[in-house]
């Protein structure tokens, strides 16, 4: 069952590489003399400074906005299909202030908090236990990775019968999905700790707390943090998706409600709201990850 484990881990490792590789690529082969014309495209020379990158990003988004505005102005798409972007933005602005949206946002955050809290603590605990009991770890690791492959969300009708409409089925599904990457990454991360380092710690008589901070965390933290990040994103996806499908409140639900009652403009605004939320959350997670990495490396 190595293939399932690979699915999970390659993702983790690559998400990892995606963060690290941008900073650490040294242009060892960039020599100005005698280059074929297209070589510049493949080189790693930093052509844009940080501020310029932000500017181009904003310009790109503005371009997309302008394009959408033009498409709806020229009635290439009818207003019932795609409302005018400035109307959507206006509704978006109103909806942020409306109680309807903030209440549902609070509901979603409550579920997110519970499910990520449970998933993270359960995952960390499982990872450490699997590391301490290597035989059990070897046996259960592929099993846990294959939990990924089972589409648990298809069982939501049954969970509704068992647990009723409300927080419980949503939190349960999110925990099942979010717990696996945390546990697997904790397990892999703690396995990266070299036994000789622990021996050194023991020989120099360092306290358990000291051993944890100075020896275990530096080796394990990058993996654990990547796992927590992935776990958080998975719980977020799962909570919104389940809310969309079954719930009677939450951000996913209000999108569905707007769709079912043909409130196209509201629907676009709420989807935009969720997209913005996802961007803010990834940005925050990135900052947290970077801060933690910086601390332990």
């Amino acid at each position: 069952m190595r293939l399932f484990r690979r699915v999970g881990q390659s993702e983790v490792l690559q998400a990892d590489a995606g963060v690290g590789a941008g900073a650490a690529s040294a242009p060892s082969f960039a020599r100005p003399a005698a280059r074929p014309p297209l070589a510049g495209w493949f080189s790693n020379s930093p052509l844009l400074s940080g501020l310029a990158v932000k500017f181009v990003q904003l310009a790109f988004l503005a371009g997309v906005y302008g394009l959408l505005e033009w498409i709806t102005w020229a009635e290439i798409l009818k207003p019932t299909v795609m409302p005018r972007p400035h109307d959507v933005l206006q509704t978006f602005g109103e909806s942020i202030r409306s109680e309807y949206v903030t209440d549902n946002l609070r509901v979603t955050f409550r579920r997110l908090g519970y499910s990520f809290g449970i998933a993270a603590s359960l995952g960390l605990l499982t990872g450490v236990v699997l590391w301490r009991l290597p035989l059990l770890g070897k046996a259960l690791e592929p099993l846990m990775a294959s939990l990924y492959a089972v589409p648990w969300i298809f069982f939501y009708p049954l969970l509704l019968i068992l647990l009723g409409i409300g927080d419980k089925p949503i939190i349960l599904l999110a925990v099942v999905l979010g717990f696996v990457p945390v546990a697997l990454n904790t397990f892999v991360g703690f396995r990266e700790i070299r036994p000789i380092m622990l021996k050194v710690g023991r020989a120099t008589g360092s306290s358990p707390l000291h051993t944890f901070y100075k020896i275990m965390m530096p080796s394990a933290a990058p993996y654990v943090v990547a796992g927590l990040k992935l776990g958080f994103i998975y719980t977020f996806l799962s909570v919104i998706a389940t809310e969309f499908l079954v719930s009677a409140d939450g951000l996913g639900y209000i999108v569905r409600f707007a769709y079912e009652f043909f409130q196209v403009r509201e629907m676009y605004a709420y989807v935009l709201f969720i997209i913005v939320l996802a961007f803010i959350l990834t940005w925050l997670l990135d900052r947290v990850e970077r801060a933690l990495r910086g601390r332990y490396q």
């Binding site: 190595r2 493949f42 569905r256």
Partner: protein, 257 residues
């Protein structure tokens, strides 16, 4: 990664073989399922398999299966073309990557299901909106893996290409694509699983046909064993495709190494 490889080699060969491991997990899974099936909401494995057989015998599942499969495959096709093209573009051209990688990672963590109503409104209920939805769901793992893979092309290979004055397309097809392929296939596997999942999820929401509509129908008439049969079918669909892609990956790895 190196520690990972070393550890795998330390295991006895027969235990480390994926076939044995898969078989063991399969048996354990069926055992747990059988043990749990005394509950009224859990159909027995045998009941589910029989229902699956009946569904194919009286043709009530096949049309829905082909519908879901068609949506998945066409959507995946679009996702592959767009994902590889943009992935190579962003992976190889650093300024573009710096501009777009944040946007890509941000959109990758947007719950895709909420995009589906927008596609329904703009493309109407039917095959087209489902294909577009699968493409949106599957494109991100493919794009991100291609992008990351393209970043890690060995500089020596690029140098060799330059020394031999390779043309643009030669660089793409002879240098970059072979190096990117393993990462790409890993992304493809993830994209395929996500594609199947999202196709069925979309059908559970609103669709003309497909496994998801049948799942909801089975649930609403309380036909528990049919429900499990459909979930099993969707699961098998994802797993079989994954295993096939895994074989392709191994073959390609062998060719490239």
């Amino acid at each position: 990664m190196r520690a990972e490889i070393a550890r795998q080699q330390a295991l006895p060969v027969w235990l480390a073989s994926p076939a044995i491991g898969s078989l063991f997990i399969l048996l354990a899974g069926v055992g747990v399922w059988q043990a749990a099936s005394t509950h009224r909401l859990i159909a027995s494995p045998r009941g589910a398999v029989e229902e699956l057989y009946n569904g194919f015998a009286d043709d009530s599942l096949l049309t829905h299966l082909t519908w879901s499969l068609q949506a998945t495959m066409q959507g995946l096709g679009y996702a592959i073309v767009i994902g590889i093209a943009l992935g190579l573009l962003f992976g190889l051209i650093r300024p573009l990557r710096r501009v777009f990688s944040e946007l890509v990672y941000g959109f990758a963590s947007v719950p895709k299901l909420v995009i589906y109503p927008i596609l329904l409104v703009s493309l109407k209920i039917g095959m087209r909106s489902e294909i577009a939805f699968v493409a949106v769901a599957a494109v991100f793992p493919i794009l991100i893996n291609t992008m990351v893979g393209a970043q890690e092309v060995q500089p020596a290979l690029i140098k060799v290409g330059r020394v031999f004055k390779a043309s643009f397309w030669q660089m793409i097809f002879k240098v970059f694509l072979p190096s990117v392929t393993p990462a790409l296939i890993a992304g493809l596997r993830l994209g395929y699983s996500l594609g199947v999942l999202h196709a069925v999820l979309a059908e559970m929401f609103v669709a003309r046909k497909g496994l998801g509509t049948q799942l909801i129908h089975a649930y609403s008439v309380q036909d528990i064993s049919r429900m499990y049969a459909i979930i099993l079918l969707a699961f098998l669909l994802a797993v079989v495709g994954n295993i096939l892609l895994w074989f392709v990956e191994r073959k390609l790895r062998g060719c490239l190494a």
